[in-house]
């Protein structure tokens, strides 16, 4: 095969994963730290002493510096993808990061990260590059083609932004696949499933519901609905707000003034949320700067009451999707649960009620790993596209467009040209004419959404049909073809029928980067990759080894070191010596393996440091003081913290 493998990528709000088809089963490719999940967190390292461009780290190491230097870290960037300035502004209320101060209305908003500014697609590109590298390490060969998943309810701008990010990361995006549909592919792969299923996907930041008909290997989406603004993040923010308010009211301490402290409380809130999925109650116990303790027990019943309004917001989209599919809940054979938030018992109960499951002797399908199933489905779709494998050759996914496409008509109303839930690719042809004698331009405003007025829909693009031959008003007949492609992205072409001239179209997306902008943002490193791929792998492996070795070198100066047992310290010493030896060879695989061993040996040490950092942040120690106490390890660009909050 001339071309390399196609990987499947789940670019998530909280975590991202890369997977591929190993024979007949999709498999997640672990990162250098052995973890399947790469936290979707990006950090900018300090500017090097020589003033060169600072490196960017992704994943666990980036997440660790979040508490120390929140102004250099960004997470949940997926919530900002393809959004305009005012939307990003309202979104940022809940996040520690800030807009660049020179952002203008109408351009893609940039986020200030340390000294530099990045658009959301650039941040996502760093995450994608990390996943690409993980896959390349795993295969020992370049990876250039990928399938990337997006929420089904993503609009055109959000999809385009995701594709742009892929291009910046050096990936040819063969297809954008909707997350719930990807999950359905993974679900239906190993069984000859027939029937109608619903996929309920409540992730970190987005909610999707899709209803599919499975028959003879064809996965035909009947309807989809959702909310690109609803997920586990909302629950975290709710708990965080309550804790911060209570601390302020009861102890007179306003932690909101300290971004690091806010992040530490946020971490505690997430941990409490996760514990409440399996335990009857969770505790907050936080030591405050004035020496007080904020202690609070949250019983599960109280938690469920608090989050009910959030969960209830998933009910409307579910009902609409069922109605749009033209069926009743009783006709749905199974409800597949996807996304980390579906671990919450109250979510499962809500789904049970919405789809009348218990009443029919059924239960929500929770057997798939909710964190991994989307990536696994993306790998299945990647395999279908590669077209080289027997196990998927009979499979085909027929997806739909989640939102109606319309054009603004006279009086600001919307003339719908492609209805929501139409199977894609879908097209529509419309005719336009001029209103004034000799007019050579016609402006067209394309919107996406279900509302009757264009102003209430999402502006997608404004097109200018240019070069119309001058004629009397109403005489030119310009045929414009709108086509939604298999990625759910709009393409437009036009021609003037009387003169037969192809009208020139100038596409100005309402929210988005131009081709030139994307080109200029392509991440430098992947370029000349292929000719010296082996050399690059070796350099990367040695760099990673060097990073962890220097962190271990400094470790004994950290107070956390004293808390380790003698055996743990001996194990670290042995792993360090082993890596030093391996690093001298030319064998990148051996160096990586030794790096991984040392990483495992230092895991508890990393946890101890993390705890110390959280305490320090809440107690309001200055960053420098905390840094001194902890050593510099916290900024070491190597993942030494566990991948999941457990």
């Amino acid at each position: 095969m001339a071309e390399g493998r196609v990987v499947g990528i789940d670019l998530g709000t909280t975590n991202s994963l890369v997977a591929y088809m190993q024979g007949e089963a999709p498999v997640v490719i672990p990162g250098v730290d052995g973890s399947n999940l790469v936290p979707s967190v990006v950090a900018l390292d300090p500017i090097p002493a020589d003033g060169s461009r600072p490196t960017v780290t992704v994943g666990n190491s980036a997440r660790r510096v979040l508490i120390e230097t929140p102004e250099r870290v960004i997470y949940s960037v997926k919530r900002l993808m393809g959004r305009g300035l005012s939307e990003v502004q309202s979104e940022l209320k809940f996040f520690p990061f800030q807009l660049a101060d020179d952002v203008q209305e109408g351009e893609v908003p940039r986020i200030q990260l340390g000294e530099l500014r990045f658009t959301p697609p650039e941040i996502s590109a760093y995450i994608l590059r990390q996943l690409k590298r993980n896959a390349e390490r795993f295969f020992g060969a370049p990876v250039t083609q990928a399938v990337i998943t997006v929420p089904a309810y993503f609009n055109d701008a959000q999809r385009q932004a995701t594709k742009d990010a892929g291009r910046m990361a050096g990936l040819q995006v063969l297809r954008l696949v909707n997350e719930p549909t990807a999950a359905a592919l993974a679900y239906g792969l190993d069984r000859a499933k027939e029937g109608t299923i619903a996929v309920y996907d409540l992730g970190g930041g987005t909610f999707d519901i899709s209803i599919l008909k499975l028959r003879d290997g064809i996965f035909e989406v009947q309807s989809t609905n959702g909310d690109t603004h609803l997920g586990g993040d909302d629950i975290d923010n709710l708990l965080l707000t309550i804790a911060l308010d209570e601390i302020h009211a009861e102890h007179g301490v306003d932690l909101r003034k300290h971004p690091g402290a806010v992040q530490a409380v946020r971490k505690a809130a997430i941990e409490a949320k996760i514990r409440l999925s399996t335990e009857a109650a969770a505790q907050f116990d936080i030591e405050l700067p004035n020496g007080d303790r904020y202690q609070r027990e949250i019983p599960r019943a109280v938690f469920e009451q608090l989050i009910e309004p959030i969960l209830e917001r998933t009910a409307g989209p579910c009902k609409q999707a069922i109605a749009d599919a033209g069926i009743t809940p009783a006709q749905i054979d199974e409800v597949v649960m996807v996304g980390g938030s579906t671990r919450i018992p109250a979510v499962r109960q809500l789904v049970d009620d919405l789809f009348h499951l218990s009443a029919r002797g059924k239960k929500p399908h929770i057997n798939l790993n909710p964190d991994e199933v989307v990536a696994l489905g993306a790998a299945v779709q990647a395999d279908i596209l590669a077209g080289t494998s027997k196990s998927t050759e009979e499979m085909l996914l027929l997806d739909v467009t989640p939102l109606s496409l319309g054009i603004e008509a006279l009086g600001g109303t919307v003339a719908r040209i492609i209805q929501r839930n139409s199977t894609i690719p879908a097209s529509a042809t419309e005719h336009f004419t001029t209103g004034v004698d000799g007019q050579t331009n016609v402006a067209i405003h394309v919107v996406q959404g279900e509302r009757e007025l264009a102003a209430d829909c999402r502006s997608l693009a404004r097109f200018d049909l240019k070069g119309i031959p001058p004629m009397s008003a109403g005489l030119p007949r310009i045929e414009v073809r709108f086509l939604i492609d298999a990625d759910g992205i709009l393409q437009v072409s036009a021609r003037e029928q009387r003169s037969g001239k192809a009208a020139q179209i100038e596409v100005k997306p309402t929210y988005g980067l131009t081709d030139e902008q994307v080109e200029s943002m392509i991440l430098e490193s992947f370029d000349h990759a292929e000719e010296d791929f082996a050399a690059r792998l070796l350099i990367e492996a040695r760099n990673e080894a060097e990073t962890i070795l220097s962190a271990v070198e400094r470790a004994p100066r950290s107070p956390a070191w004293a808390h380790l047992t003698n055996d743990e310290r001996t194990a670290i010493g042995l792993a360090r010596d082993y890596l030093i030896k391996a690093k001298k060879t030319e064998d990148s695989a051996a160096i990586r393996e030794a790096t991984l061993i040392l990483d495992h040996a230092t895991r508890r040490f990393a946890e101890l440091m993390m705890e110390a950092a959280v305490t320090a942040a809440i107690r309001g120690k200055t960053m420098d003081a905390a840094g001194e106490e902890l050593g510099d390890e916290l900024t070491a660009p190597h993942p030494m913290a566990p991948a999941e909050f457990k």
Partner: protein
């Protein structure tokens, strides 16, 4: 000069150069995908225009063609084949969406035969803009009453009042108009049979009747939608 036998124009396959008529999605000689054919939605499925369709068969054919045409099958093909796969699949999907729905199918077929249907309605039929000139004569009085009641209901809602009597009356009206819609659908189906099986004269009569029925149907369904929205608000 080429002699045109069918409405379809013979063209040479881009790959094997053997000529075929342009209403085909694949070259009959080398099986390669072709640019979008010029025929109508029925010909995509190898059907002659007709109104009574075997929907199971249509779905089966839709799936069979999707497997062969879908862009997923051409992800690593050349630029032209990728482009044609996209255009052909869009055509297939547009055709299937139109033909599987009885009303869309009828409208489409009648338009193919030169009828002007509902064009001026597209996207413009809005609540509160009931055009009395279009109200079917036999319904004039009832529609007038209904609109009064709808207006009353909206006003009551606005000031937060409930009017149970009005509610009941509107629900009755909705049931009545739903029933009328069903009647129209039955009448339409009877005309389908005439159109499919009749000669040119019968067809043209059926065509006129169907255009009128579709007008009535559109009017009724807008009315039902308004009542449903008002009741549900």
């Amino acid at each position: 000069m080429l002699k045109i036998l069918d409405s379809a124009v013979p063209v040479a396959c881009w790959s094997c150069s053997v000529a075929h008529n342009d209403a085909t999605l694949f070259c009959p000689h080398c099986s390669k995908i072709q640019p979008p054919p010029g025929g109508d939605f029925f010909s995509v499925f190898g059907l002659k225009p007709c109104l009574n369709l075997d929907l199971m068969g249509l779905e089966h054919e839709f799936h069979r063609l999707s497997r062969k045409l879908h862009p997923d099958r051409f992800a690593r093909s050349g630029e032209h084949e990728r482009e044609w796969s996209l255009a052909d699949t869009a055509l297939l999907n547009d055709a299937y969406r139109t033909l599987k729905d009885p009303i869309h199918r009828t409208e489409y077929l009648l338009k193919l035969h030169g009828a002007e249907i509902g064009e001026e309605h597209a996207g413009k039929d809005r609540r509160g803009q009931v055009d009395t000139s279009r109200v079917p004569a036999d319904l004039l009085e009832e529609v007038f009453d209904l609109n009064m009641q709808l207006e009353e209901m909206r006003m009551a809602r606005k000031i937060g009042e409930e009017d149970p009597a009005l509610q009941v009356s509107l629900e009755q009206a909705k049931r009545k108009f739903d029933g009328l819609l069903d009647e129209v659908d039955d009448e339409l189906r009877a005309e389908w049979k005439k159109w499919d099986e009749g000669d040119a004269g019968v067809r043209s009569g059926a065509q006129k009747t169907m255009v009128a029925l579709l007008d009535r149907r559109r009017y009724l369904s807008n009315l039902v939608r308004d009542v449903t929205e008002t009741l549900g608000a």
